[in-house]
């Protein structure tokens, strides 16, 4: 290696930056460790109180702050592409806590903080000691008279040659310290980039790859667990073989493995949460609670085995789990309600469309058979009259009178048709007047009892009108009733329409007219019911929602 290449690291600014980054592991690594230890000990000690929902939020925030600082350092000093993602927002405390905990970035940031202390701290101490020692050795010829460095009990650095003998060692140490900076830089840069950047890359992977990764991670975890357990047992076997202490670390390590395994199982087999009739989150909660309880039972079994104290953490775990379950089931019944509602709406909308379609066809038929035909006849009468005008004025006059009668009949028919589509008086004067007109037109004596302080919405008025019209027509046609009562009341957001006759009953609720009426009412979210026992009386009731 040429001399310039040997000395090159000293000329590179990045070397010094890397050195600074290494040195910051001492304060920041310690800060990270404090956050991790505090966070985890608080989480575990509050695990079976409701506060366990809040703690992860604070923990997540603290980790986020340190991770942002670390990322800024890594960017500035190592040129790493490290941009920690924004902590995901959520709706409500529970959702935020859930999102915080399930956010992969949170766990990767924790890993980075842990590594920063576990590797970074010793590396910093080692590197700084090496540099300090090497510089000291290089400078020894200058300050040896004052240092009184003692290497062995009878070998002091008290002469210049002796001091000079340290210089090569110092130079070598300094060279080594300089040359390890580059690999260290690479190491931390890749760690920062993989652990502190957002997981946009991870999100792009296909479900198969993600599943494969999850299984592999679990396998590694399980393998590490097995290896450690084996190691503890070997150590125990090789040493005292007395009290079987490896049970403790094995139980302690089994808890995270169990939780990890449960989480992967739920992810891989959605059927499991379905069997438990739970949401994925609730299933995780259940598994974690069960694992914690089993953990406490194991601790109790390994320990005194006296008073069964795990009953208390059981209680502590059961309460939040119970609350969670209640929330989930309440929400589920709410969504079940919504599903039913959507189904009803689909049906009633289809019914409304049918009604409308049928109405349009009826109107077309009426126009075709009625007014149009009459106008054709009218035109013919006038044409004939025109012909006869000179030869037979008297005949022409008769034809014209006939034509006028035809025009009058066509008008009557159009008027009835228009009234069947939408009665003008309903628009002009409201439901009360329109019902009164209906009652007047009915062949049966009708008592009208309408009490309305203000007009309901137009669609509700129209529906109520046609309910009454159809009911009165049915009563006149089939019931053999002697009187009918129409009662309309508005109460608490509904318009109640009741048409009762004193006839012979036995109305067919599935009949054509009533089905159309029901569809009309249901399209407005209302209900139509009919009571018509054989022998009478018949009562038709419609409830129409009308927000006031």
């Amino acid at each position: 290696m040429s001399v310039p290449r040997l000395l090159a690291p000293f000329a590179r600014a990045e070397s010094y930056r890397t050195l600074v980054h290494l040195a910051t592991a001492v304060p920041l690594g310690t800060a990270g460790l404090v956050v991790l230890v505090t966070g985890w000990s608080t989480t575990v000690s509050l695990a079976f109180t409701p506060l366990v929902v809040v703690v992860p939020l604070a923990f997540r925030a603290a980790v986020g702050v340190v991770a942002q600082a670390e990322a800024a350092l890594a960017r500035g000093l190592l040129g790493a592409e490290a941009r920690p993602p924004i902590v995901p927002a959520g709706r409500g405390l529970w959702d935020r806590a859930r999102k915080a905990v399930t956010d992969g970035a949170f766990w990767r940031q924790q890993a980075y903080l842990a590594l920063r202390w576990l590797i970074g701290f010793p590396l910093a101490v080692g590197e700084l000691s090496l540099i300090g020692g090497s510089l000291g050795a290089l400078a020894l010829p200058v300050y040896y008279p004052w240092s009184d460095l003692q290497i062995a009990s009878d070998w002091h650095v008290d002469t210049l040659p002796r001091a000079l003998a340290f210089v090569p060692a110092g130079a070598l140490g300094l060279l080594a310290a300089a040359h390890v900076l580059r690999p260290l830089r690479r190491l931390w840069r890749s760690l920062a980039e993989s652990l502190l950047s957002s997981d946009a890359v991870a999100m792009d992977v296909s479900p198969e790859v993600a599943s494969h990764r999850r299984r592999r991670a679990l396998a590694v975890h399980a393998g590490a667990f097995g290896g450690l357990a084996f190691l503890f047992i070997v150590i125990w076997a090789l040493t005292s073989r007395g009290y079987f202490w490896p049970a403790w670390p094995v139980v302690a390590l089994a808890l995270p493995l169990a939780i990890h395994g449960w989480a992967v199982l739920l992810e891989e087999r959605p059927a499991v949460s379905r069997t438990l009739r739970a949401t994925p989150t609730l299933a995780v909660h259940e598994g974690v609670s069960a694992a914690l309880f089993l953990f406490f039972v194991a601790v109790w079994a390994l320990g005194s085995r006296g008073y069964f104290w795990p009953v208390w953490p059981l209680l502590g775990l059961a309460i939040p789990l119970g609350i969670h379950a209640v929330v989930v089931f309440a929400r589920r019944s709410e969504s079940g309600e919504l599903t039913r509602r959507i189904r009803t709406l689909e049906q009633t909308r289809a019914g409304a469309v049918d009604v409308q379609d049928e109405e349009l066809r009826r109107i077309e038929r009426d126009l075709h058979d009625g007014a149009q035909a009459r106008l054709v006849a009218l035109g013919m009468s006038i044409g004939l009259a025109e012909q006869k005008l000179r030869t037979d004025p008297h005949g022409a006059q008769e034809l014209l009178a006939e034509a006028r009668k035809g025009a009058h009949e066509a008008l009557e028919e159009l008027r009835d048709l228009a009234r069947g589509i939408h009665p003008p008086v309903l628009t002009d004067r409201g439901l009360g007047a329109a019902i009164a007109t209906l009652a007047d037109r009915s062949v049966l004596p009708v008592t009208v009892d309408v009490e309305l302080t203000e007009r309901p919405p137009a669609v509700v008025e129209t529906a109520a009108y046609f309910v009454v019209a159809e009911a009165l027509a049915n009563a006149a046609k089939h019931s053999l009733a002697t009187s009918v009562t129409v009662r309309i009341r508005r109460s608490a957001g509904t318009l109640g329409v009741e048409v009762a006759d004193d006839g012979r009953g036995g109305a067919d609720a599935g009949g054509h007219g009533l089905t159309g009426l029901r569809q009309r009412v249901e399209a407005l979210d209302g209900t139509l019911s009919i009571s018509s026992p054989e022998g009478g009386p018949t009562t038709l009731m419609a409830e129409l929602p009308c927000a006031s």
Partner: protein
């Protein structure tokens, strides 16, 4: 007789104008909405305003509202409301002030030109013209015992009285002598316990009020 017409459909407005002019009326203005009608009446002081019930902008009962406004603001002008449909409650609103010079007819009646022209003249000179359909509605509404006790002929006379026709007109319509009609009228008023009245319009009001059950 000076006439103002309020009708938004040009076809009908022009037809009505021609019909009235051919029959010796002086159509001084023809307008398309309620506000214009009120202005035209204030300017022209016609004897009668013929008003379509449905006018812009709402196409609901604009014409009726304008007619009621005219009744209050221009009492010297008679009002004849015409419509594609009739409701007895509208007739009640028009007759509410108790004054004559008011009419309410289906547009169909225009086709029977002589009858329509007669109605316009009657209303224009302070009388009443109520559509037979309105009267029929009222008859079906009032199924009381006194009405049931009337003879068929008496009911025919009662209906024509309610329409606002004079005894002479009733006699002509039913091919009776005026004396016979007078006898029928006296019988009807007695059976319904209504006081005899001097003017035709008073008689109409009394009969209509009776039929409405008031």
């Amino acid at each position: 007789m000076r006439v103002v017409i309020a009708e938004d459909l040009a076809l009908l407005r022009d037809g009505l104008m021609r019909l009235l002019r051919d029959n010796g009326f002086d159509v001084v203005d023809a307008v398309g909405d309620g506000d214009a009608l009120v202005h035209a009446v204030a300017r022209e002081h016609p004897d009668i305003a013929i008003v379509d019930i449905r006018l812009p902008p709402t196409f609901r009962d604009e014409g009726l509202r304008a007619a009621l406004e005219l009744r209050a603001r221009a009492p010297e002008t008679a009002v004849l409301v015409v419509s594609q449909y009739v409701e007895h409650s509208y007739a009640t609103e028009l007759l509410a002030d108790g004054r004559g010079g008011v009419g309410y007819l289906l547009k169909d009646r225009i086709m029977n030109v002589d009858d329509f022209v007669d109605a316009v003249r009657r209303v224009g000179s302070g009388g009443t013209a109520i559509d037979p359909d309105v009267v029929a509605q009222l008859f079906s509404r009032r199924r009381s015992e006194p009405v049931d006790r009337l003879t068929v002929r008496e009911r025919e006379v009662l209906a024509l009285m309610a329409e606002g026709r004079s005894n002479a007109a009733i006699a002509e319509r039913l091919v009776l002598t005026v004396g016979a009609v007078e006898k029928h009228v006296a019988n009807i008023l007695a059976k319904l316990r209504l006081a005899p009245s001097q003017s035709d319009h008073r008689r109409v009001l009394a009969v209509l009020a009776y039929l409405q059950g008031e």
